[in-house]
């Protein structure tokens, strides 16, 4: 009983409860039909949100105003880079992934360069950067849908007992991210900067380096995500990352990370990503019109966050 109660105080539990409720509502509607398939589909799709969500989480944790709005453009460009490098060739998969990673990391580093050298607020720096990246992508990819090599496409769709392998790998990755956040100097430094950048500096945290690393990490994760998305959706395209502008922020905050900075948690990103996909599943299954679907999506998000409630402020 007490363990249940202590579980309920965890900020991330609400996103999982929300996901569970939405799933139950859906299979109640179909009379239990297709419940397993929905979970499989949700896991496959949530993976992509989780990967960018983790990067966005570290950025948002750096404190008010920190956010990476360049992720959609980044994902789009990296997907094109990965597919062009792979060029439908199974032997080039690893090289393509590395290229996407490098492309994303370079974008992240450039973002921080703008923020640092020109003292531009991150929200505007990354927004401006995203315009530039989009242009690069259009002129590089010409808006063409470039196909992945068959081996990579199969890998992106590979399932074991109905569980996507990509999801398993992503779980491992998020465990690593959670450890980095709570138990490594890097994560502690991010949390410190998010709470009070000046105090962090005076406590010996290398503020500049940690911020640089964080934006680069977010960019690199966007890059990898772009490559994986192109594999899963069978082709790179400029718009492939569009929905992750809002989704990456949404999973972070619905998952219980504080937008005021300095407080983050990784499990919540998973919970919130599953919640959002299952919500889409539910509304598609109910067969409501687009207007009603959007309306219900919004009301349910507000409802879940209200039920979860905020943290009591100290003093």
């Amino acid at each position: 009983m007490t363990s249940v109660r202590s579980l309920l105080t965890k900020p991330w539990i609400w996103s999982f409860i929300g996901a569970l409720l939405v799933w139950l509502a859906t299979i109640a509607f179909t009379g239990g039909y297709g419940g397993g398939g929905m979970v499989t589909a949700a896991l496959s799709l949530a993976v992509f949100t989780v990967i960018v969500g983790v990067g966005q989480m570290f950025v948002i944790t750096l404190g008010p105003g920190n956010v990476d709005l360049s992720l959609p453009a980044n994902i789009g460009l990296a997907s094109a880079v990965a597919m062009k490098v792979m060029d439908g060739n199974d032997s080039m998969i690893a090289v393509g992934l590395l290229a996407a990673l490098a492309c994303g990391a370079a974008i992240g580093a450039a973002n921080y360069l703008l923020i640092w050298a020109l003292r531009i607020p991150p929200i505007i720096a990354t927004l401006s950067a995203s315009f530039i990246i989009q242009s690069i992508d259009i002129s590089y990819g010409r808006g063409l849908q470039i196909k992945p090599p068959p081996g990579f496409a199969d890998f992106a769709n590979w399932q074991v007992l109905g569980i996507p392998v990509l999801a398993i790998l992503t779980v491992l990755f998020t465990v690593g991210a959670a450890i980095a956040l709570q138990r490594m100097i890097y994560g502690r430094s991010v949390l410190a900067i998010g709470q009070n950048i000046r105090a962090a500096w005076l406590a010996g945290v290398n503020v500049g380096r940690i911020r640089f690393l964080t934006y680069t990490l977010s960019g690199a994760l966007g890059g990898i995500d772009g490559a994986l998305l192109a594999g899963y959706f069978r082709g790179a395209n400029v718009d492939i990352g569009n929905e992750y502008l809002l989704a990456s922020i949404a999973v972070v905050v619905i998952g219980g990370t504080s937008v005021a900075g300095g407080k983050a948690n990784v499990p919540g990103v998973w919970g919130a990503a599953l919640f959002l996909v299952l919500l889409l599943t539910m509304l598609n299954t109910f067969g409501v019109s687009a207007g009603v679907r959007l309306l219900l999506t919004g009301l349910i998000i507000v409802g879940v966050i209200t039920a979860a409630g905020g943290q009591k402020a100290l003093r």
């Binding site: 450890i179 138990r183 709470q195 000046r198 300095g262």
Partner: protein
Amino acid sequence: MPRGNADIIRLNGAEKHFGAVRALGGVDFHVGPGECVGLVGHNGAGKSTLMHMVAGTLVPDSGQIGVHGDIEDNYSVSRAQQLGIRCVFQELSLCPNLNVAENTRINHASLRGFGWRRKAAELIAAKLDEIFPGHSISASDIVGDLSIGRRQMVEVARAFTVTQDRLDLVILDEPTSSLDAHTAGQLLAFVRRFVAGGKSCILISHVLGEVLRNADRIVVMRDGKVVVADAATAFDRNRLVTAMGGAEARQKIAAQIAAAKPAASPLRVRARPAAQKDGTDLVACAGEIIGLAGLAGHGQTDLLLAIFSGASRARAGIEVTAPVALVAGDRQSDGIFPQWSIAENIGIRSLARLRSGLLISPQREAELAAFWQKKIGIRTPDMNNNIFSLSGGNQQKALFARALGSDAQIVLMDDPMRGVDIGTKLEVYDLVREEAARGRTFLWYTTETEELDNCDHIYVFKNGRIVANLRRDELTEEKIIQSSFGDAA
């Protein structure tokens, strides 16, 4: 209770719990008209909590509040305001984005309508002139641009401004903690005039001399209870310290220091203030305690920050040869990580040493925290509690623990004793001397002259420059004041 000479405020059996912590355990407290009540007690004794009840910002779990002889059932801030009770809180309560006049408006619901800005500006300017002659603060200054000392001045002056509500009692919770000796003197002189005019005041301070000299009656708190309350004349320093408990046997301030110091210890810091034209350097060697004195805001903190950043990257005029840690005085903006536990707040400066392998070991972190909790006496049932569950002074102790528990050989202290109680101060003085004897170097900026007794060397600052370099045996308060006010060299 007859209305004629009724107490301004009376609390009976006030109790307050914060979770497991009992902050107040049945306190009786009252203030009469025309008296200045001194309130002292160790860090976490419950002084600020008690004052929050008086000011209406916290509601007691049980107990009664009476004001001007009437029992108040729905006591609140605005009710207190109507009844003539104001409070200067320990944590600064100004809005940094507003200017001084606008901050004044916040405390006066009646300052509105046409011309309120002018009225507010005149009101606060007049009060500042009255309390702190020569204060150099303008009503149009944005509070965020002011130094912490000036902010404290504004807040104090604001509490004494009167519009339509009456003013009977002003609570001053550690009002002098960020003021230099000169300004603190101005404030206390004003308090005496205020009380002489028939009004009342509650004065909380860890500088016992201030309380002894200015209060009519002194109330001593300990662990959430009032232990003694008596006329000020019935106390002396010893009796106060004894009543507060914890520091009974500790009266040997600065008796025997620097007895056996190695003759030629290695240089640790050589620094020249940016404004220094005459080539004077601040020099600190291993094992030395260096004092930085002078009026508040004359470049001491700037030099400490310059030395701090000089440790990680080359800076002109600064030479630092060992790792540096800093104890912040303005703990809200420079020290505390508000989301974290006490243990995490202490460990942040020592993360590299708390690792086993790549990961930070929670066990070692807890050990470090437990060690310093004991050594420096941080009052809390659990070091995993949030840092804000500590009283102001205990938060400051955690910042000391952060610096002293680190691998830093040079410790910079930026007026670090703000809000620290006398018992702890004495312990920290000993600790600093002990660590210095082991070879650590301390650079210690302080606004409390008596703390300079602990230093080997004192540099006096004025207008961002070093104007005097005194050995400890040359040190007297007159000399410091003389150099602080004298012509710049």
